[in-house]
Subunit: 548 residues, 2 copies
Amino acid sequence: MLINGRSIANINTSVVTIQVMYLKNKIELKSNGIGRYVPLCYGGGMHSPYIDHKGSIPSRVSEIGRVTRRRDPYESKMLPSIKEAIKKCGITDGMTISFHHHLRNGDKVVNMVIDELFRQGIKDIRIIPTALFDVHNRLIDHIKRGTITRIEGSLNGGLGRFISEGILEEPVILRSHSGRARAIQQGDIEIDVAFLGVSCCDPLGNANGLMGRSCYGPCGFLKADAKFAKKTVLITDELVNFPCIPISLPGTDVDHIVVVESIGDPSGIHTGTLKITDDPQRLTIANMILDVMDIGDVIRNGMSFQAGSGGISLALTKLLGDRLRKKDIKASFAVGGTTKYLVSLLEDGLIGYLIDGQSFDMESVRSLRDNPNHVEISVDQYANLHSGATFTEMEDVSFLSGTEVDTEFNVNVNTHSDGYLLHGIGGHQDVAYGSKLTFITVPLTRKGNPIIKDRVTTVTTPGKLVDIVVTEVGLAFNTTNVRKEVRQRNEDLESLCKKNGFNVMSIDELRRTSKASGMDILRKEGNKLVATIQYIDGTTLDSVWSVK
Amino acid sequence: MLINGRSIANINTSVVTIQVMYLKNKIELKSNGIGRYVPLCYGGGMHSPYIDHKGSIPSRVSEIGRVTRRRDPYESKMLPSIKEAIKKCGITDGMTISFHHHLRNGDKVVNMVIDELFRQGIKDIRIIPTALFDVHNRLIDHIKRGTITRIEGSLNGGLGRFISEGILEEPVILRSHSGRARAIQQGDIEIDVAFLGVSCCDPLGNANGLMGRSCYGPCGFLKADAKFAKKTVLITDELVNFPCIPISLPGTDVDHIVVVESIGDPSGIHTGTLKITDDPQRLTIANMILDVMDIGDVIRNGMSFQAGSGGISLALTKLLGDRLRKKDIKASFAVGGTTKYLVSLLEDGLIGYLIDGQSFDMESVRSLRDNPNHVEISVDQYANLHSGATFTEMEDVSFLSGTEVDTEFNVNVNTHSDGYLLHGIGGHQDVAYGSKLTFITVPLTRKGNPIIKDRVTTVTTPGKLVDIVVTEVGLAFNTTNVRKEVRQRNEDLESLCKKNGFNVMSIDELRRTSKASGMDILRKEGNKLVATIQYIDGTTLDSVWSVK
């Protein structure tokens, strides 16, 4: 009997109900639809265990209503400082405040607000950032002091490592981009005050991230917060005359505005590498994917794809562009995480529309501002499974990475094999759920650690959403998808690839090859529940435990 | 003791409570904040009498939640016919369905849907159109047959005349553009199914009114319906490949799509005259307004204004452009009802942004599609007093007309002096509420009927929102505004105008002059309540009675 891949003899658990319920460190755990043991009660509420990749039917029939913003038209929205905004919004101990991450590792807003909450002696705050980066590592001190006691949002880097040591009483809740927006819309999360950095706004709060010295691109990630928070405060370093055009965020979702000296450093929007890899192993993977797409007739006129940042993804973007050019055809649209490589495809006429959820460089920001075919969307439009019209569901193909993949095709992007929680979910589940053909690209090993596992340390994306795993030595097709059409398509593609001389392996063979290339890292799992991974529908997919 | 300006001896009423409550034809009427007698209970619900022009605080703290559009991503939104859409949405007797009027007198959607409801034998339908025009006169037959039993929306022309004869049991409820959007958002109206014509959409329902052979311009008026109706059905005659860009209406607000041969004739968007008046009387009024604005330093760099259609308004637009050019200055923005005259101001660089609620000609549609400084907004952003960020509140000046004005500056745009209900409210209340300086332009008489009255037949816009009434013989300033700054500004402007030789009159003098120029039409008021006029906040401003 295993919990998270380890015998129960190794850890402090006791069987409560036969085969489904366990106690670990007094936390009741229940097995979910993917065989992971997850808590039912955390973060101050009840949460259903994950059922299956199709997602559950929403438990609520309607969105939470946003507060009508009754306001005397003669009353100004301008407030002199963050301190005044905190007072005006009546923030007290125990409240929930939210932030967005468009400025990524260049953001100053989160620190400014939390520092001020600390100065005012406010405690026990729950924060709901879309994502935190190394620039926010000072929050560790605010956690130690009790200013922050709960976090629901993506953790990247230092803060994740710290959380993995078990410092917070309540587990961090991780959601995908769309899962977070859905949770806010459906009332899973109630935000008292959203503090949202915008690079440009007018006195009524009409705003965008396209102009001003701290411009960062689209405003997709902050829209759910602005609309559904009880109070929305914009923090800006560029107040312009009414009207601020284009209106990415309407002032109808804004209560107050504070002008500060700087909301952040836009160079911080660069995430990871923005250079195309010259690593031969990675280029092998990229070319292998394109060859599979070619054989499967995916590279055709009117195709669509999801792109991102990171060496392989950038290489794929550029190389796919080359193939489109060579075939003299055009993709209908690409969705990003946008970079200069995607922008150049748009400008060269190789894609019809570039759809933007977040910008990873200044070329993308400029293009989004100036090119009418470069279009900003909300997270709801991007991927929310309950929104009824997503861009991800229209994607022919997507390329995702992972820290680990297992023999059931489950993908981990959150933890490393040593158990440390070092990454958010991002759009991983969103894209895998939506796109018609999902490639997972991973190296066989990283620093000697085999990346194909018997069982991933943490399930981020259920294997049922994955179609093909590609490594530098070969690829494995998932033919266990429950939808017959997809299963058949994957089987056909597998046969074609075999005929065309690809090194097609079963996922078990791939695991054996991976295992033989290195040595599985030993993990020292502690007893403290430090995080839960939610699926896009809000069910609990996996538990993350402390690292001893 | 008077009811609606007539002695109670003339009509069938009895005093129920002293001075405030009356019975007329068994309908309980209560006097409101402007001295009009209005019903408390109509349209299936309770409604508060009008309090004052500032508007009441919303009775609900949150918007009604829209139904989450859970949908299998493999399930198509396409339906083969309106008949199928009616079945799929489960429309039964007594339900509420809504429409928008962007195609105005060219619309075919309302008739197609109601004809089909009739064919299916469905009865007792409440319709919530934004506005109906002569093209919809066949609805008279559907009312006679019992298919439609209730209407809440603007009536123009033939249908209004028919309603005035007292054919409907329940009174029609008239709301301003923003009042309607507010009522939907706050749950005053619950829409079962919205049938919304769009000139272009993709298979997920992303839509606009800018492309396709039936293009009509912005989608501002249909947004509240799409978002808050239990089911939203798009009717289009141009289905395009995904994605339909620009996205004026997101597919996240759409359940089903029906492709028909034609949604209407775009030439029908022309409303009233689109020619600048050459009537000397009207040109006198237009020039008088511009001279007042000049004296009051309203025509300055960065000014903003509301424009519209109709002879005087078009003349004002053109002549204001001439003055801006002469002074070598630029308006920051103008809000329309857009026409080619406004578009040419935008293209000549005389206004920074053109903000579009509805397009009145094809030049406007083209400009909105092609010019990034021509911007589409929702009705919520346009004027909803509870949205917290409206364009109308930022307008320096607006020019409105009326069928009657009275000595308390109240304006009637709904009924003629004979009592017939022939026009909707449109944005009259919205603009008067928001804009800083509101001119009302009326001739002294129309066909011998004095237009300045002792008491208007129907109050559409409370006099407290009006600043200056301009006729061809002179102008009257309202110095009774409760806000001291506005009162003072109007007094100062009045003095300046007197000094500069304008024929400044009191409103009572203007009434005497008007009365002396003609003969007040005698109205034969019946006993049936045929309509109520709601203020922007949902309170009841006035009652409209049948015409004998």
